[in-house]
Symmetry: C2
Subunit: 211 residues, 2 copies
């Protein structure tokens, strides 16, 4: 863990996601270095990464500002995630070991536990959901896919979506995860692809109708 650089990345991204740095806010290297408590060098690396993940955009003159997303951007992000994660699911269906599938099962059990109580534990749901999807991506054994999906700004969307979920939506996620596990167990890549595509498209729908 390269402390300084990763710390700068995490902190600056936090500023953006929390809204402390609203769209259009300039991201000046020295100011951020002061905030984070490191020098400009690791801040520069963090900013390059945030730029490549489109959290920030560069003005004609080379200045970085926080990027703004509109509804079309959100739809595009979901469309890309649907394509790439469906592909990951299809690959994973051919590659996942029984042990990995067992891990997925455990993960989804945790997810269901998170929403079983009187008041759903959203943070725990999100963590389990994230772990579930990450397991599939790493199970797809494609470095390229992993890189691309990591770069896809997803967390803010996932968070905003989940906070808008009602209980039936959350339950539905768990059910769809179960279907994925069935498809994996059957080693049926087409099935896995279809379920994953439906899963993510439904999330977009939930996001749209809730906002």
């Amino acid at each position: 863990m390269t402390t300084a650089s990763d710390k700068a990345y995490a902190e600056i991204r936090g500023l953006i996601l929390s809204g402390d740095a609203s769209p259009g806010t300039p991201l000046r290297e020295e100011a951020l270095a002061d905030i984070v408590g490191v020098s400009r060098t690791p801040v520069r690396e963090a900013l390059k990464r945030l730029e490549s993940e489109l959290y920030a955009v560069r003005t004609p003159g080379g200045r970085l500002v926080v990027a703004a997303w509109d509804g079309d951007d959100v739809a595009e992000i979901f469309a890309l995630r649907a394509m790439l994660e469906s592909h990951a699911a299809a690959r994973a269906a051919r590659r996942l070991s029984p042990a990995a599938i067992a891990e997925l099962r455990a993960c989804n059990a945790d997810l269901q536990a998170a929403i079983a109580g009187h008041e759903p534990d959203i943070a725990r749901f999100l963590a389990a959901n994230r772990a579930f999807h990450d397991l599939i991506i790493s199970g797809s054994a494609s470095g390229r896919l992993a890189t691309m999906l990591a770069g896809l700004v997803e967390q803010p969307i996932v968070r905003r979506t989940a906070t808008r979920y009602d209980r039936s939506d959350l339950q539905r996620s768990a059910t769809e995860h179960d279907q994925l596990i069935q498809a994996f167990t059957a080693r049926d890549s087409d099935w896995a692809r279809a379920v994953m595509a439906a899963h993510i498209h439904r999330a977009l729908h939930a996001f749209r109708t809730a906002s």
Copy 2:
């Protein structure tokens, strides 16, 4: 153009693609800085970029080495390109202006001129092909898509594929580009998506049978 950093990127990538730096070769920052003639700082940025594009991989200890690709990697790259560029074509079909379509037409005319002579001009073909695809990607008006496709290591594949093309394959590319232009003119995004998918899958096939 930020000279030093981009220059380092281009030169180092050149070393990798030309084979001067074969898979497994360590990429040491200071040595590369000497070769390129800049300091370690821009070299570091170039290496980060090459790493994110998977031209290089990091060893457990943090050293960078040139990445090795096998047949499965090549297939995966084509599969991802097929998905993403089809999506780009579909989006472009809904967005391209008549002027942009005219540009595509001119571009494909150039491509056809490159292969019309007695001896096909491969370099010119590749440049025109690249320009054609880039126009579509920028026409899709999705920064995310553009970033991802830029990051997808494609040039080496394209080059290796085209050198294996026989004349009928080259001609076929031109024809498929014409079909894309027709689909764009008709503003038919499904048609455009299908043609692009076929176009890239055929390229994979040509690559496989020729190697």
